[in-house]
Symmetry: D2
Amino acid sequence: MIIQFENEINEVQKEAILNRIKGLKYKPTEVKTQKGNYLIGIGKKDFDIRSIGAMPGIKDIHIVSDDYKLVSRKWKVNPTTIDLGNGVMIEEGGFQVMAGPCSIEGEDQIRKTIAHLKEQGVSIMRGGVYKPRSSPYSFRGMGNEGLKLWYELAQEAGIKIITEVMQVSQIQEMDPYVDIYQVGARNTQNFNLLDELGKNTDKPVMIKRGISGTIDELLYSAEYVFSAGNERLLLCERGIRTYENATRNTMDLNAIAVLKEKTHLPVIADPSHGIGIRHHVAPIALASIMAGADGVIFEIHEKPEEAFSDGQQTLNFAESARLINQLNQTFALRKSFNQA
Amino acid sequence: MIIQFENEINEVQKEAILNRIKGLKYKPTEVKTQKGNYLIGIGKKDFDIRSIGAMPGIKDIHIVSDDYKLVSRKWKVNPTTIDLGNGVMIEEGGFQVMAGPCSIEGEDQIRKTIAHLKEQGVSIMRGGVYKPRSSPYSFRGMGNEGLKLWYELAQEAGIKIITEVMQVSQIQEMDPYVDIYQVGARNTQNFNLLDELGKNTDKPVMIKRGISGTIDELLYSAEYVFSAGNERLLLCERGIRTYENATRNTMDLNAIAVLKEKTHLPVIADPSHGIGIRHHVAPIALASIMAGADGVIFEIHEKPEEAFSDGQQTLNFAESARLINQLNQTFALRKSFNQA
Amino acid sequence: MIIQFENEINEVQKEAILNRIKGLKYKPTEVKTQKGNYLIGIGKKDFDIRSIGAMPGIKDIHIVSDDYKLVSRKWKVNPTTIDLGNGVMIEEGGFQVMAGPCSIEGEDQIRKTIAHLKEQGVSIMRGGVYKPRSSPYSFRGMGNEGLKLWYELAQEAGIKIITEVMQVSQIQEMDPYVDIYQVGARNTQNFNLLDELGKNTDKPVMIKRGISGTIDELLYSAEYVFSAGNERLLLCERGIRTYENATRNTMDLNAIAVLKEKTHLPVIADPSHGIGIRHHVAPIALASIMAGADGVIFEIHEKPEEAFSDGQQTLNFAESARLINQLNQTFALRKSFNQA
Amino acid sequence: MIIQFENEINEVQKEAILNRIKGLKYKPTEVKTQKGNYLIGIGKKDFDIRSIGAMPGIKDIHIVSDDYKLVSRKWKVNPTTIDLGNGVMIEEGGFQVMAGPCSIEGEDQIRKTIAHLKEQGVSIMRGGVYKPRSSPYSFRGMGNEGLKLWYELAQEAGIKIITEVMQVSQIQEMDPYVDIYQVGARNTQNFNLLDELGKNTDKPVMIKRGISGTIDELLYSAEYVFSAGNERLLLCERGIRTYENATRNTMDLNAIAVLKEKTHLPVIADPSHGIGIRHHVAPIALASIMAGADGVIFEIHEKPEEAFSDGQQTLNFAESARLINQLNQTFALRKSFNQA
């Protein structure tokens, strides 16, 4: 169950509610987010929801049959909107493009990418300054210095930044320069990182599905951040590992349709990693809109063949412009279906 | 390599060509299809293609680096068109809907389905009369009697029939009543069945990807039918088996994009099996168009909850009508992209 | 439920039982095998087993909660023994080695293999005369002529034959020359083939697990053969398809432990296909004994590097001799554990 | 390539070597571990190894064709021995059992477990004080207080401790009380954690294979720790995620055979997580020895049904005693094979 407390609840009232919950053999967890105070009760016994709901100090109470609670659409029917300021919103019923290089490489690259995005009407730029790499001998990113440089240029241009955070100790130093944190596929179940992103920032967090993570595990990971205090969450489908190796990963568009039903959080598609082959990124990006995505994130570079990483799945600016135009038309068509 | 013989090639010429091929340590296989005579050479050595191409009796010769040959787009750049007669074509640049019940259940059901399809402008009806079932105690279909009944009604209405063939011995009896044979996911590598569908029918064959088949294995299976004589082939992506069990299968839309590049054969999407959840069939069907499919096949029933099989993934007629309308609009949009 | 009929049951009694079963809303299927007459009832309702069990004509009745019935150990607690004649038995508590080439290639190869097996005290030889191959251009086996030749030599030497049957039409011609039919991984769900192996032979059938088949699907496939009349069945774990491609398949030894609990049928391990790398076959073969296998089947060849197929996973005779010796010692140790 | 420097190398010599490496277009990384100083060169060009090997300051140089370098058996043929002191060694040719509860729960549980291990001659106890859990509402472990308590009791009894570290900030506080750090399956690619375990401790680290990690990724993860300074590493196979859900994971014993060939590091098997079903843990544990494991780690509890976590896969003390006895006999048999 999820109980939302009244703002003015007092300790005596809270104590009484807690006792009642424990009396039902439910395990209570108090959750205080930036937006509200909740009590999560985990248990199995049937009980009369009205008898608890009527207790003083309770704003509302819901039974949520899913194992995850706060991120479930059974609790919160209305979709969550992520407001990045300056009119940039990620939300159901809208559509956001996030594009940029795999790795931030330097000032020239940043400037050119920003110019391209501005031209295309895109408001959010992706890029990596901390790069998780299988081999310790590969390029691991420009680090926080790269992020600061990027931030200055993006800020100037009115462009928002999404970038990956890899460890707890980076949060504090990155926080002033980040608009959305990305949790990568290898860190989806790095529970300490999730906890800290719940407690120590009010910036939105986009959690990528694990390399072979289930849909439910992704929702649980979001529940970690939410229950630690941060409600501003996005989920991202980026392909899963299967036996098929004609493509880098197997983009699971089913997951987008399922997630849109199960959770109130926005769902983003990453076709670059989802298929991993440059000339196939566009069809998968377009398909993801029809599957229900609220946005796409993809990799672009002025000269993909010279990119520090992921060049084989990176679009050049002409391809990017063409895709963005098609995405907009496809989203408009989908929207017309929903309104019909 | 693939050599296409001249129609008027004589035995002496053929003998000379065969000797030359063997001299290169290439293993030759003669292929006689309903459309042409070919020689497939399997080997590794480099050779001067012109010296062979100039031999009398050869219409053309191609080096095909793929392991499959006759189904490769490296050999045949122009897409294959499947002409079912009466103006019903399955082809790149067009879009065909195939819909119908999982199992053919009886006359009333067939009539109602046909009426619905006519109303929606759909020309191809799917349905099973031989059902592969995991348990021997489940309903296994109405058999050839059901097929005959269906054929009469469909014929009358100008509707084409696609239905699954499960074994060699069924081909002869089914042949007069079938417009397209379907090879199911459990039979994708039933090589004897593939061979016979190459030799003993000139009806088109749609091969579904194996339950955990690779893209290459699907192409090889098509190569079996083609090299046994039947060029009229379609491929079908119907979801693969992965660790994710929130959905029945994992629809692999990547495979559609990849197949459209690798082969000249039409590619069909089966969202019903691909996701297996009724209210998610439509978004995946629409997504498959954007991924590049030349058609979709999905399950419908007047009353899905009463269907003999697969009710949980079957659309009712209202849902079907709505989806078909959206498919048409989505295909029109994709077509406009390709022409831009 | 499974009802075993008395041998002398009459039609009136049978009718009465059938009516009672239908009255419970159970779907009845009569099963007549080479050993007994059964009635399988599929349904959900609780009922008093004694009230049916007391009806005339019933030998015994069991409730089997598994979805498969006749192959379940919940029905038949005692393990099934496969008696091949001349004292060659496959059974729980014993251990059988089956070894031989991937493909039967000719007389010399057969003679040498038989000589090796005799020397090592092995009684069952494997070999393929019909080869399922991904590509239509690969060697597809010597066919029934090869089988007859092999049979003569094996017969002479007192060696039993296990070989793959690929299609219904082969059963009749192969039957005189086969001691155990093998159903390959690509045919595990070829239900027509399974049906016919139930109806048209009394030779034992070893069913390999599908390429990505579940344990339950394997049991269902065995249920097909059993319910069609043939109780002489063996199951074989041969590795499954996963994302890991350092090995040909992922040998699932868990499945052996699980199968030994779920079914009364013998379970055989195929380490050659399970790992697919010659110098790793032995450790996996030995491991499979500890996991509970009742036998192993592996590929050997006088000169693996010259084998027509699967050379990379085939042991030479010296390696084979060494492995067989270790298998015997390992089985003896496992047996001592079970008796302790 | 891997260059091992002489201990007395001077800066001029090192500079010359670095320049030569860069001249070959190899990317050099200096590695300083607790045991030696190395230079790793990543590149593709062929070169004459002797011309570099003869340079002053170089002890030896090897070409390592694997993508991982320092953990490769192509570089270091002799197996790595992990010496825990007091005669407790983990090494090829020996066999170590590690057993204990999933979660450390309190003093009584620790005492009883230690008593059981002492009785069975086991020297290493496993247990979790920081627990990664899918749901934020589950028990997350006793933390460092639990570890200190455990350490005191274990120390007294001469028992070594292996326990999971989940994040960088825990290393310092855990370090005095840990004999082996375990990196869990969800953290196999937590590269920052791996880096810090290389730099900030000289305690051995056992890295579990990722939930769907490849064998190569596991080796790369070990390369991270090694190249950051800590050579005392163990690898652990604990089952992978596949489509089969009759078992918790699919224990990949192939991986043990393959790892023993590819790396000089000891390989441990975890049958508890590998199959996840209590009464099947023993056969899989025994099988893992035959596959080549240098040790096993499994979960035990006085009363598994009351364990805080993982009870369904935990052995009681009687089962544990029986298994340890069988493990010892099985290892003795395997050893006799290797010496034969």
